[in-house]
Symmetry: D3
Subunit: 312 residues, 6 copies
């Protein structure tokens, strides 16, 4: 198999297929235009500049295009970039798309199977029916969506993978603390971010949808639960339904993080805490993956701009 | 007509019918029990203590009970209270309930008529149908609910009156600023607090419902709009529906005030501003009504605990 | 009449007279100098770069200079700019200055007349005399000053126009809420930003004066009221004068926005609220004017950096 | 075995031995003194007032005294209290002290054994030696100290129990996330609150020591690590020692919570997160234990004064 | 000379003349009224309750009344109070008022003399004339006013004493740092709190005046400087006058502390810092004066509610 | 003596020896590399760009290198920079290093002597021994270290100079306020920043050490005091030692500024206040030194980004 982006060393000549993740057409100080590009394949990303770009170039090399990239791996302010020698568009139908798309580190079918087992632990009838109904309705999107625009789990299947990680934490905590309502915690974990299938669009360049921007994924999933309850003829003002909606509405923990209510259930507080925990571990690990031992990572926006140290 | 609570002067003997607004059974330092009560009629409120109260008394004189109150109007730490001489329960069926319930300063039928004219200004089909559908569904509650537990418009019909005041401001602002979308602003004003018909309960002692406490009126009205759209077969992800939902979701202005999204429409920003304006005027005026000219009012919780001065 | 800045379409050759609004002499990466310029006429603004600029050029093309501009309208990172072909200074005495200066959307004489009617509503003697005295003293500056350095109403006559908008809102609110002291609210609206005639300088490039920077317009207008009272022999410690000074001192609402006192009068609270309302409407509308339907505006600094959506 | 505090029902006559947890000598409004007391045994607490108390009574019934309490269980503002009929001091040597002291829900010997297994997982020599050295030095205090003055784990052995809960979470997270350094995370969990053996004093009425008040448990444990390294001849400025000190210094997460450094290690971030998680679960569960199903708990100070709902 | 309030020990019979500093007429739980009083003489204060108080008593024993107090010094919740045996009003004309009024710890004439020397260091003509003009205009009030309602320097002459302490710090800092403009720093120190002569009223019970409440001492002194400049024919917009006004306007340091401008001069920053320093030292020392060695003081409101430790 | 960096005027040819303070190897828009450099000698700094830099150049002209610089002093966006004509490395052994290093404005030997007198004022045995022990242990570093990475006192000897300035303020305040414990305040001033000898590294380009980054200077000095007490056999939990540690731990004043405890001693509060005062004076003066009279300084990061005005 041919080499991928992160397989190249500094100073080495690169020649590979990649997808364009970001593309920005800019005017240089000398009055000419260039394209500021980011290339991506499954292994990772590398930025590069395409000089003396025409408007046609800007059109060809847009976000999502598959390209043949030739150039040299360089360092620019301590970060890798490619000095582009030649760049050409490739017909997407002639290539194996799975080569370019970063995906969850576990197989989709394994995750699908594990979720089937997860549902069995939701022993409350109303919650079980709502969760199964919505997972059926959004099955395909759930297993292909990212969990965020950037920051953490920002890849194809990221939503399913993040959700599964949280379910696993939920199971362990339910084991350790007998007072926890396992069914409620797991149902909440399953649904908490499901609104992102409507909030976010695309996996070769993730964007907010208009609905995501104006309504937000927390309200979107609450609306979907509301419609599901109507459809399944479950009373919206039953305690079961109020608790389930509260779980997803409060999972950001604080009003200033977009939750219209703060957690008022033990399980809601735990759901918020493990969401923070799994996201933090993912963000820090992603940054440390790109850091050499004995060094500090780049600053992580989602972690209050902190740098983290990698043990030597 | 007999005298009402606020008609009595200091030192005067009181004898009147009232409703019990608050009732708290407490142990005195001397080991005996007393009831800390607040009496209310349409004119206003007065607190009083009922000494040596038995458990039976606590049961009789509970929130919502109609009583015959005899005593003397006194001052305690500068605030009026009644020194109770005699207190007896009255059969609510023998009295004119309208005597006790504080209501909106405008007649319900006038408000109902004015709203009919208001709906005519909502010239967008989707918005008009949603507003009419929900005003029909919650008609009775809308014209009897308060707009808040305390703070502002905390009386029967307060929700309709507050909504109408905001609609009038919305009309005036649409007149003055040609760039405003009148139909959207008025539709938003009509719906913004409608969730309070589910969030709040009662008008002789207002309480949050369980659903109100766990879900909140902002999300509740959004869910009702969602169900209405389903019922009326209007697409939820149409621009019209996204804008309307955004209006109600963002009307608290800041995330920390419970809006899951900040205003991103000119009309949403205005809706938030006139909500603050009408609520502030109501809160300050309520406090100044109880203040003598040339003095400062009591501190107003909803206005960051400020005192306001009444011109002499 | 010849075309103005905003009349040109993308890709079109421009040839017009304009005033230089901003001018910054910078060193390019290639060691040569260029001028980063912003051109303005009554219709709006457009930026452009002047390459290989000498120190003489920097001197000629400074802020406030009238120039003949030839070039091509281009897009740079999605925003219009002019690629300059030729630039020449024009003798300001040979051109009609009114062509360049952005002004209030209402005629000065109309505004002057309306203010005469406004003063009649200030039915308190002390307030009426103070307002008339200060409007006479600063008449010319009041009708030519901007209301801000940037953000909102940042054009010639902006101060008078913003003040008049607020007076109109004040009138409407006094109509709707009977408890409002109309004379006080209108007097406060008239004076609240008058200190800006001293705080801000110029209308072809607005800057803070030294006094504006070190003292601030809130204190400046308070000082002017103090001197006016002395001149008119009105007692400074009378209730009338204390209330009027409080109106202007508290109109920013919060200490952290520069008001040394928070509002303690119903009318002071309203004055603050309508100041926010009119400024917000102006800022959002200005941004939406430059936005295509169905898109989000640029981020607005004065609105906590939010983007606003323009209905499609 | 005789009945304990929480075994009694409302209205029932109580007769039992208890320890005085709080005692406050106050002047009643009638000019006489009373004692405001809180009684405790292993099952829980109940408050009560002792009327007409002499100075001798205040001396006898002080914090830590063992008493024979006779009275009636009552409700006061919805909370249980005892109306004291008779109160007498008991010689502590004649009673089984274990009856009064609330202790960790697991046996000390079991916890001691489990910690031995825990230490085996600290596979770094420096960390292992430091942890073993300090656990030996403070062995007795560690297994008898509370983990806090109030809020969470405020009972004998609370520190060991809270530490063990965190170690168990640390183990589970190390299992789930392969990138975590298990030895470092567990060493940090073991030491993070060890300074509390010096910061807090007593278990029948927990108080801050002078050193705890002026220095704080975070700095205290850092000092103990410093001295231990000196004693064990481990270089303080080695990476191992810097990482270990950083773990304990940063475990409060934010500077405003008393950590002089924010977490800069993946393991330090996790340590902070699971500290919050275990403390939250303990605080909420403690409050829900005292709450009837279908009700909200009392407000919890350590959870931003929120009430939590107990499923019906 | 007879004994003063702080000369008595616990349990001792008290018999002395005092002034009533605070008086609150309250209803006891038993339905009777009492007066909650605070007595003061030059040595300090002691609280006490007067039981079964009639309305006449409330009228007699009001704030500012001189009384003969007989009773016993007691401890209530660890704080001294007097159990009143007998209380009678004394004709103020028959007593030496200086006995009751707490005053600055330095003689007024000494302070007056020192200020004369201070003025000589203000070597700028404009500043010197303004300072001398205002110190002449408010001479009597300046040497009798307190510097605050409570918190710090809340006694007769407190304003002069606080001002002088700050001038002394200003001199020392000007000595140590050659770059400081001594004349400006001292002029600012002299004037910074002068507005308090109008803001605060009385020294037997200090209250805010209406003008103080609505305008604030910072703006008041700025207005006085404005009028003085007019009177002395010094141009208000000269650099000298702008700097001087800036000094007093910015001396609270932050907008949220009531300064309409933040310090923009080295001397303005220093003025703010030494204001904080002198006020802190005064507040802490006042609290430590009432604290026994080896103990913590009561919480100090003006120091973020912290307790301070007194060395043993 | 030859001219130094700040001796040159605009437009003048420069030829001098300097040290490289900052060096950044960057890619220009034209695809070539350049070095962004800052040159420094004892008189001050000047930036400059070195075009068409090879990797060898980047290696030669690194931070700390001594160079012969020829070029022309220019203005770039209003700030001086040098247009480099020629740049060559110089053997550091051939030059007088004292020419390049900015140092404290007082002679080291004078400061050393003054500290000897200072120690005499620490009349408490424990404090005196600890201070002398640590000043002996870190003598050389203390007199050569900077007090900060940038902001204030960021030069060789800056730590000693800042410490001495604070001691002088501490002496003056102890003179003026009799209640201050002079020995404790001075001991605290001596030790408060001593941890910086370990936290910061280098004086030709100051960096945080790994230990400084992960532990922080406040904890570092506390650890050193702990070890010193052990060495000198002074009990760590004696009041003397607790007070001294509290002084250094709390000197940042607020938790959010990195102090694990807020000041709880009068002397600790003063220590914090004079630390702020001396640092502010140093930062503002440094900025004003580079400002022409009648102008505002550049914004100062450490002063909340404010500009300060320099009197004309």
């Amino acid at each position: 198999m041919s080499k991928r982006i992160t397989d190249y060393k500094n100073g080495e000549q690169m020649s590979l297929e990649a997808v364009i993740k970001l593309s920005d057409y800019r005017l240089a100080k000398n009055g000419k235009h260039f394209l500021s590009l980011v290339f991506e394949d499954k292994s990772g990303q590398i930025p590069g500049k395409y000089w003396d770009a025409s408007e046609q170039d800007a059109n060809d090399f847009k976000v999502g295009a598959i390209v043949q990239l030739d150039g040299k791996r360089d360092l620019y302010q301590g970060k890798p970039q490619v000095t582009i020698a030649r760049l050409g568009v490739i017909d997407p139908n002639t290539v194996d798309m799975s080569r370019f798309v970063q995906t969850a580190p576990e197989k989709r079918s394994d995750m699908e199977n594990e979720f089937e087992d997860v549902f069995l632990q939701i022993t409350n009838g109303a919650w079980n029916r709502i969760v199964r109904y919505l997972f059926k309705k959004f099955h395909e999107q759930f297993f292909t969506s990212p969990a965020a625009k950037s920051n953490h789990h920002d890849f194809q299947g990221g939503l399913a993978f993040h959700t599964l990680s949280m379910v696993r934490l939920a199971e362990k905590i339910s084991d350790q603390y007998a007072q926890v309502n396992r069914a409620l915690l797991i149902a909440g974990a399953c649904l908490h971010d499901l609104g992102k299938v409507i909030e976010l669009l695309g996996n070769l360049g993730i964007e907010y949808t208009f609905e995501g921007n104006m309504i937000g994924h927390i309200t979107i999933v609450d609306e979907e639960i509301t419609l599901a309850a109507k459809e399944l003829d479950i009373k919206l003002d039953s305690e079961d339904m109020i608790l389930l909606r509260h779980m997803v509405l409060s999972h950001h923990g604080l009003l200033e993080y977009g939750s219209p209510e703060r957690p008022k259930l033990l399980e809601a507080e735990i759901l918020h805490d493990i969401d923070v925990l799994d996201a933090s571990i993912n963000m820090i690990s992603k940054a440390l993956d790109k850091t050499d031992p004995g060094n500090f990572s780049e600053r992580i926006f989602g972690m209050d701009n902190r740098s983290f140290y990698k043990h030597s």
